[in-house]
Symmetry: C2
Subunit: 323 residues, 2 copies
């Protein structure tokens, strides 16, 4: 715990000292607005924790960690245009607060910044390769996500591949980058990458679950949002897979309505169907399996157990399984 | 001439063999649509000619050259959204043919491809640094360009800095990258970079001039487009600088009209004012000065004169000064 807190504080203080205010001011205002919102700094933390696990020099990982955070936020800015999302983390999105052009261009400039940052480390050639690779994959993932909106025949493997590309690969890359900077072996780098994929999948499925079953007080927003938006979540796909013909047609009917008079009625009805099908338990088991997979990958990493404690604790905390 | 033709053919054939069709197809269709339109391949050609000038291995420069072309086209796709341009090179722009989301995301994916391509060369660390640096600058340039649309007090130095960032730096970087790959000295790399800035400025000002005074048959579109769009070109800024109070207020009046009944009347009136002020000659002189500057930089490069012939001829051809 001490280590986690210390790395988070070190990173926050480092990030606060990096200059982000350049000319033209119009370009950099949306960037600082986005980057300096309160956030978990999940990707930087994974990078730093992985680096620390192998006894690497944290100083060498700070800029790459910032690159991961900057890159991640650039994708959010562009995604929010595409999804027409008015809010993110309770704040207006860039395209809403400014306009679409500002969001396109400041997103682009953040990618440029990411590539600049990621090379500020002795192993620059390897870190920049990782960023370039993951950038591809994240674009592919976002395109699949867009495609799925208008497709009614999305399969579960397709959905899992989409969230792998859109979410998990960046977490995996963050971990791998930290390990690489610390000089970990290729085998250990791969293990941490696979660990990252597994926790990335688990976190994303947990998000799907929380959107439906989360404690509204803890979750910070109304549950059922995905249902009202007719989002093809893992929950829905799994429910459809397990449904009887009658349940299936009921689900399909609810999800064919784009506007409903009484939203809570729709949420309730869908959740009732989910409950009949034990979707919560089934998806919970899938998530738990991903965490078990993740544990196995981490166990196989060739460093003493005590070096793995911080990363393990951090992931437990994030997953809420520490309570 | 032989050399120029040969490099162009080699590059075209190389580019035709690089795979660009991946899944998801929706993401890569706009990319191939954009990249495989007929084009001068100016940036790749500058890169290859520079590499050849120093006796470098053209094979090592092909992927970086493709990176420059891919990157350039990614900026065009995003710029066309921002400028709401329906056509480019006589073809529908991506955001028109598909939609804004497709244009944002395929532009992003092209940047990812550029960073992948630029590293496929033995001096990858240096080439990727150059691309990352120029990406910054091009974003800055585009933001200045956007800012200028709504500003009435743009100065000539500001305008020149904008076109330097938006256009010239990428040409300069293309040349420098080719020289770097060939193992040219830092001093020679800088000279080629400065040569590139000078020709980049000259080309852009020539574009401004051609839009107003070009031979419509050669130019391929109606002249006066910039005047009708009230664009703050170098021509206009120079005219305002030299104008008498009466001429100035006439110009300002014409450029305050966003819609006019008889467009040709406006074009004629503005051109008459330009003629009174000898804008064509004055701007022509500035362009000529940039080319003279460029010549001096190229002369100073430390390779025998005969090695410079191809690049010289190429730039002469492009500038139309070879006739």
């Amino acid at each position: 715990m001490e280590k986690i807190k210390q790395l988070k504080e070190e990173f926050t203080s480092f990030m606060g000292q990096v200059p982000f205010t350049y000319d033209p001011a119009e370009l950099y205002a949306p960037i600082t607005y986005t980057l300096f919102q309160k956030g978990k700094r999940l990707r930087p933390m994974l990078c730093l924790l992985a680096c620390d696990m192998f006894g690497g020099d944290i100083e060498e990982a700070k800029y790459p960690a910032l690159a991961l955070e900057t890159f991640h936020n650039s994708t959010l800015i562009h995604d929010d245009i595409m999804d027409q999302a008015p809010l993110r983390r309770g704040m207006e999105t860039v395209y809403k607060k400014w306009n679409t052009n500002a969001a396109i261009l400041s997103g682009d400039a953040m990618v440029a910044l990411s590539f600049d940052f990621v090379m500020r480390t002795p192993k620059a050639l390897e870190t920049v390769r990782l960023l370039s690779q993951v950038y591809h994959e994240v674009c592919d993932g976002q395109q699949y996500d867009i495609n799925f909106e208008t497709r009614s025949d999305v399969t579960i493997p397709e959905y899992l591949e989409m969230i792998r590309l859109k979410t998990a690969v960046l977490l995996a890359t963050s971990l791998r980058m930290g390990a690489l900077i610390a000089g970990a072996s290729e085998a250990d780098q791969r293990l941490l990458y696979d660990f990252g994929i597994a926790i990335g999948m688990a976190f994303q499925l947990q998000d799907d679950l929380l959107d439906c079953y989360g404690d509204e007080a803890v979750f910070g927003k109304k549950t059922g949002g995905d249902i009202l938006e007719n989002k093809k979540t893992y929950m829905l796909l799994k429910a459809l897979e397990m449904a009887s013909p009658a349940q299936r047609s009921a689900l399909e009917q609810w999800f064919s309505l784009s506007v409903v008079d009484q939203p809570q009625l729709k949420v309730q009805a869908v959740k009732q169907l989910y409950d009949q099908l034990h979707v919560k338990e089934v998806v919970g088991q899938v998530i738990s399996d991903y965490f078990t997979q993740a544990d196995a990958f981490l166990d196989a990493v060739g460093v003493p157990e005590e070096r793995k404690t911080s990363l393990k604790t951090y992931v437990l905390m994030l997953s809420g399984r520490d309570k």
